[in-house]
Symmetry: C2
Subunit: 256 residues, 2 copies
């Protein structure tokens, strides 16, 4: 397929690199020409910052931009006979309604520009405005990954929220853990086997059954000790609140 | 070494199974004879629920019980010429001060009775009351794992708190994610590649640099949409508070 990428951020970059293997990226658009150019270079494509210069005969147009940039782009991007998709988790398919063929191509992963990642097993959520479009998107997604799902916009929004808890928020908890291990003058990677086992266990026995720790045992003595140390070690009252809130949630579930 | 296990819970079970490979577990004590017996059986050891019947000529005694059970046991366990250690993260070494030789043997991992786990790379934190004891504990720990660290009680307490955030609290976030993917009628394991990449990335580029998501972009529109859906989908006001609190922490760090 001939593909145009609209956007040059984390998702556009990693998606472009993956698509390039079996398809042709003809063009990269970004409001910032330097961004468009540096991605286009990696993809052997041409670059533009002029929306009117976007080719109108590509098979598929990927809108990979921040959520609030999608609508303004839809108003400017010319009509075409290809499929226009966006890659966002929380934006309805309806925003693309002015096109003939449109849909969703949502790779369910966390991306960075400079961390190249294999798409082989990344879940890709697709949705098409009509069966014909859905089939084409399914075929394209299957050329990247063995893990393709047809989901509607409501399901996709819920999945995005699940991802915020499972990825963005857990990463923030890792950030807190790192601050604490720094305070103990011990390397953060001392936590790696524990963190990896936590993940592995959650998928083996389910998170409900995997829950351990002072809150799950309702061990008040230990929790009070932790709160005391957090108060003493960090000038961050909300960190203590977070410890209490999460502990209370866990105790509430574990202690009926 | 000849080893006595005091306790028959998650840690005692997995530690016993690991120690058994190169050492002899002679005895398992638990206040509940059925627990002592079922673990003793797996370790080819004898079982007792009578603390006065604990052998006094073992090389090492492992107190693997809940934190608040350690002190009462220390008052009852007879003097001996072995080393008495406990395996708790948040209890000072001083609680064992009445013995001649004592210390800490803290395997830094999450354990379940029925999930057998390799100790090869589990970090083990040790501390001894004297150099001679520390050396013996180091040698014993090294017979289980290549990842042994000498840490004092303050460092260990901080590490335990780091583990609560990195393991217990993240597992709770996985639990929430699962509830949300259930609501979307999609299998929880659709989240596995994302969660695994989150872990991998945190250790490759550090959690500070790995942070992505609506809060990191300060994308209010998406966060408001998520809050609306959480309110609509779950009868759990504190879940919405948790979403807001964690998002605010992340926005505060990412948006200077």
């Amino acid at each position: 397929m001939n593909i145009v990428l609209i956007g040059a951020g984390n998702v556009a970059t990693q998606l472009g690199l993956a698509l390039k293997k079996n398809h042709t990226i003809t063009q990269v658009f970004s409001r910032h020409l330097t961004n468009a150019s540096s991605l286009a270079k990696r993809l052997n494509a041409t670059a533009t910052d002029n929306i009117e210069k976007i080719s109108t005969n590509a098979d598929i147009y990927f809108l990979s931009v921040t959520d609030d940039a999608i609508k303004p782009l839809v108003n400017e991007l010319p009509n075409n006979n290809g499929i226009v998709v966006h890659t966002a988790g929380s934006v309805s398919i309806d925003v693309l309604g002015r096109y003939k063929n449109y849909g969703i191509f949502y790779p369910f992963q966390t991306f960075s520009k400079n961390r190249d990642i294999s798409f082989d097993n990344i879940p890709i959520m697709i949705e098409g405005n009509a069966e014909n479009t859905t089939n084409k998107l399914f075929k394209l997604a299957s050329s990247l990954s063995a893990n393709v799902h047809i989901v509607n916009s409501e399901q996709r929004l819920l999945l995005h929220i699940a991802a915020v808890f499972a990825c963005n928020f857990t990463n923030h908890l890792y950030h807190i853990s790192k601050k604490i291990s720094d305070k103990a003058e011990l390397p953060f990677n001392i936590l790696q086997p524990l963190i990896e086992e936590t993940v592995s266990k959650a998928f083996k026995v389910s998170p409900e059954n995997a829950q351990t720790g002072p809150a799950a045992r309702d061990d008040r003595q230990t929790m009070d000790k932790h709160i005391e140390i957090l108060n003493k070690s960090f000038d961050d009252k909300k960190l203590v609140e977070l410890y209490k809130n999460l502990s209370n949630r866990i105790s509430g579930i574990s202690q009926p």
